[in-house]
């Protein structure tokens, strides 16, 4: 297997200490390879979102290790983590993904510009990213003029613009109707099939059905895994 895009080694996260300590994640091992879509399911409080924030370098493991493209996050300082978040990881949340004052293309270009890419180049790459996802027609429109499904598709374009190969999605189809939700998943799936890696947190089994593996969390631990049969 090639280097995992994301690897958790006995990753744990404890909030507080002593008797009141909350063990949000208790030693989770997980590898996500390029071309792999992994869904995380589990009841509220099982550690799904904690896992995602550790994976994206938005929070730090209390013990264990998180590696993105082979780089241990514990070895990075604040600036290093910030750079990793800009260059390697893309996020898609349930809502509020796009900045309302920027057009779709400007939203997609933003992470590149924040990373020091010149505005003109960033824009060209953003347009290319939108075009690859058949979203070129939306480039000049503002989020308010986009449907919920269109906003989430633009958010996926932004999550994958540049060199980024890891998408972390937290209930990305939250408020969408089922057919629109499917189209968002189809887009994510197509990017993964093209070589990205994605972790999808969801409580909807129907969406988890798109994943190559479904990891079940309970009380901060992995309790089981469903692996899709490889069809010839």
């Amino acid at each position: 297997m090639s280097t995992p895009v994301l690897e958790l080694r006995a990753a744990a996260r404890v909030h507080g200490t002593g008797a009141t300590a909350v063990h949000a994640l208790r030693g989770v091992d997980l590898q996500v390879a390029p071309g792999e879509l992994v869904a995380i399911m589990g009841p509220s409080g099982s550690g799904k979102s904690t896992l995602l924030t550790l994976a994206g370098g938005l929070d730090t493991a209390t013990s264990g290790e998180v590696l993105v493209e082979g780089v241990p996050l514990s070895g990075l300082d604040r600036a290093g983590l910030a750079q990793l978040r800009r260059r390697s990881v893309g996020y898609v949340f349930q809502e509020l993904n796009l900045l309302p004052a920027l057009t779709a293309a400007e939203n997609v270009a933003l992470p590149l510009e924040l990373d020091g890419v010149r505005a003109r180049d960033a824009r060209a790459r953003a347009l290319r990213a939108l075009d690859e996802l058949d979203l070129a027609a939306l480039a000049g429109r503002f989020p308010d003029d986009l449907s919920g499904g269109e906003q989430q598709r633009v958010a996926i374009a932004r999550a994958l613009v540049g060199e980024r190969r890891l998408v972390l999605a937290d209930e990305p189809t939250g408020a969408l109707d089922s057919v629109t939700g499917e189209s968002v998943l189809a887009l994510l799936r197509s990017r993964v099939d093209a070589g990205a890696a994605a972790v999808l947190v969801t409580h909807e089994a129907r969406l988890a059905g798109w994943a190559d593996r479904v990891v079940f969390l309970r009380d901060g631990q992995v309790v089981d895994e469903a692996r899709a049969e490889v069809t010839v």
Partner: protein
């Protein structure tokens, strides 16, 4: 599942012979419920006995053709017009298993729930892949696979609910 109405509905389109009905039924439902030819002929015999279909000669290769009678056509129309009855569910082995697991000393019902959830999600992955591999425009087969996807999703939601209920009852809450 009503093979009877499925075959009758196909006969509304014109006379067919048994094997043709088998393949027509399977193609239209995305090969989700394979029929054996014997089942098709048994069903045709029953439909003929009830006056819903009649033999309609043979085709050039000697296949016995069947057509829908006026009563059969009415029966199909009623089928489209009425909702499918789901009021008397078959005995549900899973519900029985979980109910019994709750009272057992050496069985953790949460483990029974999780094993089932994993199996159902695996089925969901299988249905999703089959549906995504369908040629564009095969809406009929996609609808059938959607039915399986949504049924599996409902089962997982029910299992989630069972688990939450089990956790609550273990923590002393009554309901």
């Amino acid at each position: 599942m009503s093979v009877k109405h499925g075959l009758l509905a196909l006969l509304v389109e014109g006379p067919r012979y048994g094997y043709e009905l088998k393949s027509g039924f399977e193609a239209r439902t995305g090969d989700t419920w394979p029929l054996n030819v014997g089942q098709v002929y048994t069903t045709l015999a029953r439909l003929e006995r009830d006056g819903l279909v009649a033999k309609d000669g043979e085709d050039a290769e000697g296949h016995v053709l069947y057509r829908a009678t006026p009563t059969g056509l009415r029966e199909v129309q009623d089928w489209w017009d009425e909702a499918v009855e789901r009021e008397a569910p078959a005995r549900d082995e899973l519900a029985i298993k979980l109910a019994l697991a709750v009272g057992m000393h050496d069985v953790d019902p949460r483990d029974v729930v999780q094993r089932q959830r994993t199996a159902t999600v695996r089925a969901l992955q299988r249905h999703t892949r089959r549906r995504n591999a369908l040629p564009a425009g095969d809406t009929a087969a996609a609808l059938v696979l959607d039915a399986l996807v949504f049924a599996a999703e409902a089962e997982v939601r029910w299992l989630d609910h069972c688990e939450a209920r089990l956790v609550r009852s273990r923590n002393g809450a009554s309901r």
